[in-house]
Every structure is written in structure tokens, then in C-alpha cells.
Symmetry: C2
Subunit: 223 residues, 2 copies
């Protein structure tokens, strides 16, 4: 039985990599940048998204795919900003894979978009295992979760490009040591850019938006 499960997983991963490559190629042609937004339930993904949209929507045309096991509370919040958005239901599945992402992009209609966010299922484990074809992997670790999380969930930190330390205004309440969290995350991935942010004070979101702007400009120049 162990052997069979492994074989299936390898095949699933190979199929997934193929679909991710197709998405990467399609996005390169269309010029849109896809950001895979990941983190635990309640880490603040939708709130971070609203902060980034606010700072980027003047200059870029943005689309959002909201993935959830169920409900459409997040899509509603995004729609209120006037941003093009679709809700994806994974029907119990704990992550988005590349094929679901491809279908999502087709449904969203990416023509004319500069920047597309996929808000993945709230989960610090599984989404890290499945490439979706994104250009940027943006992960969140919230202060209430604790600064030991890089030790327990290393893969997410290893595969990400940017890590936002969210709800940083509550760090003192939860004994969250941002220097420790940053050092632990960067020990796993020295290329990881770590930015403490707070939607209450606004701290850090200008820097995070500037980083995405940089990547968007790089993409435009390459076209």
C-alpha cells in the first residue's frame, strides 16, 4: 500500500508540474504576474490583499481568485473594492493545485490584467507542496501564531519569495519575537524577504507593495 500511495503522489506531482508550466507560459505571454498568497487560517490573507490592492490599483489592473473550502465571505470583501474577483470552492480539498488554478484563470479572464492574486486555502502545510504556476509566492505568518512556526512548518518558508509577518501590532501581546521569527525563516531560505506588517497601523504594506511593483516592472520590461 505504501508503494501505491507514493506512486500516485509522484504522478499527481508530475501532472501538476505540467499544468503549472502551461500557466507560467500563458502568463508570460499575457504579461500578467500571478501571486500565490498562502498562510494559516486567520493569518490575515484577505486583509493583506485589501491593503495591497489599495496601494496598487491606481497603477495596475488587478484580478483576484479567492479559494476556499466553502463560503464566499472573502470574495465579497474583495468585490467591494471594485476589483475583478472570482470565488473558487475546493470542496474539501486542502490546497489549490495547478489544474484548479488554470481553470480559475480561465474563469477570471486574465486579458488586460497586470497582477493576479490567488488567495490559497488557509493552510500552512499543503499549499506549499503544490506549485500553481505563480511568479511570486507570498506567505503570511501572523504574530498570534508564534515565532516558532518556521521550525514546525519549514517547507512553506523554504518555497516562498516573500514572508509578511502580519498583525505585528499585537506582537507584545503574544510574545512574538520578530527578530527570532525572521532569523528562523531566513535560516531555511536565505533569499526570503521578510516584512513585518500591520493593517491597523499600516506598517510595512508600502514596502510590500513596492516589492510587487518591482516585479511587475521587471515583467513589463522583459516583454
Amino acid at each position: 500500500m505504501d508503494y501505491q500511495i507514493l506512486e500516485t503522489k509522484e504522478r499527481v506531482q508530475a501532472d501538476n508540474e505540467r499544468a503549472a508550466a502551461q500557466t507560467r507560459e500563458k502568463l508570460k505571454q499575457s504579461g500578467a504576474l500571478l501571486v500565490n498568497l498562502m498562510g494559516s487560517p486567520g493569518a490575515g490573507k484577505t486583509t493583506a490583499l485589501l491593503q495591497l490592492i489599495e496601494r496598487l490599483k491606481g497603477e495596475y489592473r488587478i484580478g483576484v481568485m479567492e479559494a476556499d473550502v466553502d463560503s464566499d465571505v472573502d470574495a465579497k470583501k474583495i468585490a467591494e473594492t471594485g476589483t475583478r474577483v472570482i470565488q473558487l470552492h475546493t470542496a474539501g480539498l486542502c490546497h489549490m493545485d495547478a489544474d484548479m488554478t488554470k481553470r480559475g484563470l480561465d474563469a477570471l479572464q486574465t486579458d488586460g490584467l497586470d497582477l493576479i492574486f490567488l488567495e490559497n486555502i488557509g493552510n500552512l502545510v499543503c499549499p506549499a507542496e503544490f506549485e500553481v504556476g505563480a511568479d511570486v509566492r507570498l506567505m503570511l505568518l501572523s504574530a498570534p501564531e508564534g515565532d516558532d512556526k518556521p521550525l514546525k512548518y519549514p517547507l512553506m518558508f523554504q518555497i516562498s519569495d516573500i514572508c509578511l509577518l502580519t498583525k505585528i501590532d499585537t506582537a507584545a501581546v503574544f510574545d512574538f519575537d520578530k527578530a527570532k521569527a525572521t532569523a528562523r525563516a531566513r535560516a531555511l531560505n536565505e533569499k526570503l524577504t521578510v516584512i513585518p506588517v500591520s493593517a491597523v497601523t499600516g506598517e510595512g504594506f508600502d514596502a510590500a507593495a513596492a516589492l510587487l511593483k518591482e516585479k511587475l516592472d521587471e515583467r513589463r520590461k522583459a516583454q
Copy 2:
């Protein structure tokens, strides 16, 4: 491909159910009660466990299995209380299944134990799908995660017996409405016992410990 995956999943679930049934039978014979402790990363599982151990260790012999993708920070904390504990590493897997739990129980050596806690991987999705043979499914939702989580992750609330609303002392900071969270959770599962708790103020943990005591006494009477 879809069909193959489905078939594997069904087979995995059937194998899992068989192993869970064996564990249930074994525990019934030994008289120990197994509690499957689940929740998001940073929901406060280890802290809740320490609070419950403190209240129950005078009367009951307790064992703990700490499951993590990596690290042993939680097992260390439990060991400091003098409680019998083992650390299980799932090597990337996002949940504990019944077979891993069986192996864990063998390694822990359950003889003479009254109460065994399995602290599952921090994940609000996958552990809900895998029975481990537990007598009690105890889930945590922390105030910082938000009161909308029952809408987004319904299965965990559906399969649980007890839901602790943790870090409730920070509810005001995060606009966490405990009445809303409770109503949404109980709309999914009317038998769910919901208890707001705080490790800072101690609120709620006496009630939670009393509930486990009740279940332990029931089991002893049945023997």
C-alpha cells in the same frame, strides 16, 4: 486521472478506518481515553494541553503524542511537566492518520495510562478527514483567526465533540464575536460543546477539564 485519485483516496480511507477501529478496540480494553486535539497552526494546542494536564494530572495518568511536520519544541514543553510524551514526525504529511497513531500509541506504551492526548498537525482542514480512533475530538479556534472560520472550514466543526475558543482574552483586539462564532459552529453541529478559554486569565479550562473528567468516568464505569 481523476478516477484513479478517487480510487486511491477511497482505499486509503478504508485502510484508515480499519486501523482506527483496531485502536478503538485496544483503548477500550486498556481503559484509556484518547483525545485528538486539532486546530490551526498557533491556535494554542500545546498551551491548552498544558492547562488541561495541570488540572487533570493529580487524578489521572496522562500520556501525550506530539505530532509535527518537524521540530520537537512542543514535546519539550510537555516533558517539563513530568508527563509521559513522545514526538512524532510526519515528514511533510499534513495530518495524522490511524496507522501513524497506532504506531505512536505502541511507542508511547499506553499500559497504565488513563488519558492520552494526540496533538495533531496544525491544520484546520486535513486532520478532520482522518479518523485516528480517538474517543474525543477536541478542536481549537483562536480569537485571532476570526469568527468566520466555521463558514470556511466546516468539516472540522462538524466532526468535533468539543470546540475551545482560545485566546478569548484578545477577542476585542480582533473583533472576534464569540456569540457569532458559537452560533456558526453549532449551526454545523448542534452537539458541539463550545467553551471560550484563555490561558492568560485561566477562563474556561476548569469547564473543559471537567468535561474530559466526565468522559473518563463514563469509560471507567463501562469497564
